[in-house]
Subunit: 225 residues, 2 copies
DNA sequence: ACAAAAGTGTTTACTTTACACCCATGA
DNA sequence: TCATGGGTGTAAAGTAAACACTTTTGT
């Protein structure tokens, strides 16, 4: 037992993991193996340990519950509704993650009976206030992809322009002119051709690479992200 | 005493309150009246109660410690470093606020021995990790003012174009061409002239008003904030 | 030769920047 | 009448949007 002079809320972390499989945008959910909301789908997450930051906790829970590891996450926001958990006062710090969906064999583990990807437009009903968290996460994703090079975290290290365009179209829910898209992306100054090409069905497509070094220089010069 | 099966961190809220007094940008700080960091300057804030959301807690602490009440705040982010408080594990949820500096007689109260405004470029050294919070808050402010009508929260309900321009220049640390600034602001479509004017030193300046209704319509039509 | 997907350039519209003179008021 | 700050328009540059034909590959 742990005792405190004043009441303390419990603190959890949750990870909204977005993945891309070549066509549509998905989110990684786990089926809860324990109460409350047993057998409901929810974001991977769990109670914060005393010796880890929220970010470390979120990564640990993600690894334990889905097998996904070593990825980039960033804080979304804290959700602090008083009644969001029936057990006791629990607030959660939600994180956003972006991964190449095919890099991971997601497997349920620990408190998760099962883990799988759901297309973001075919989500099941979610435990706790996770539907609200999902709304905020999608808004943030749509906002950020326009100002930060998030898309490259969802692609292999080399990619074609149409793969890149597919991500933007999936996230923003609109289509772009192929020629203008191509021009605009190259004009950013941090996407470089590799020289290789990738073949699927028609003419082979050139492969590009995101250059983090050039990106850093680009934002320095242009003073806006 | 309050006992739990697993250890719980303590949770506080902190408010980074930005104010504008007609010329420069300031932040509201309190001098801590209790340990730890007694007599250091810090953001107003304190422990979260079990029956309030983080936002409610932040507003309550702000009221208790500085007398500032009934203002708009928004969540900045949670700060969760393991060693950020010497007493026990404490994580804080930081909020951002924007106020008309002259609307409030700030007064120290509760755990705060004193409360006063500091120009953001003349801040004292801060308690806990509040210097880090300040950095994040300023980054966020600079980012948001370019995309959201924050400036109007810092001004009286009617204002002149040069007052508005002064805020943008103070926050972003750069100057703008008076004519282009004027055009751009009116082009937003949600700033309307009141018909009145304000006199200070030369020719009287037209007074404008921020129209929240027009703003709502403007973001609907332009689909980007 | 045909189907499928990829590569590419030009014109037009729009947005942003640069820039200077006249006006209203108080001292 | 002078000093102070406010109001305003136009031309040039840059950015974004519209738009269609040709190329490479596999079948």
């Amino acid at each position: 037992m742990y005792s405190y002079k004043y009441p303390h809320p419990a603190v959890t972390t949750d990870c909204v993991v977005f993945g891309f499989n070549g066509s549509g945008l998905s989110a990684l959910l786990i089926k809860r193996g324990i109460e409350p909301y047993k057998d409901s789908w929810a974001f991977p997450g769990g109670f914060l340990h005393m010796d880890e930051t929220a970010e470390q906790g979120a990564l640990r829970e993600l690894r334990e519950e889905t097998g996904v590891r070593d990825i980039y996450i960033e804080q979304l926001q804290a959700f602090t509704g008083v009644e969001r958990d029936p057990r006791e006062r629990v607030l959660t710090i939600a994180f956003l993650a972006f991964v190449r969906q095919d890099d991971y064999e997601v497997i349920g583990g620990d408190d998760a009976a099962e883990a799988r990807w759901f297309p973001v437009d075919e989500l099941p009903s979610l435990a706790f206030d996770h539907a609200e968290i999902m709304r905020v996460a999608l808004d943030r994703l749509r906002w950020k992809i326009q100002y930060e090079p998030l898309a490259f975290r969802l692609l292999n290290s080399t990619f074609t322009m149409s793969q890149l365009q597919t991500i933007y179209e999936a996230v923003l829910g609109q289509t772009f002119d192929r020629r203008n898209f191509h021009k605009k992306m190259l004009a950013m100054g941090y996407i470089t051709p590799t020289g290789d090409s990738l073949q699927n069905n028609g003419r082979p497509a050139m492969l590009y690479r995101f250059d983090a070094e050039l990106f850093r220089k680009a934002i320095e010069n242009k003073k806006v992200l």
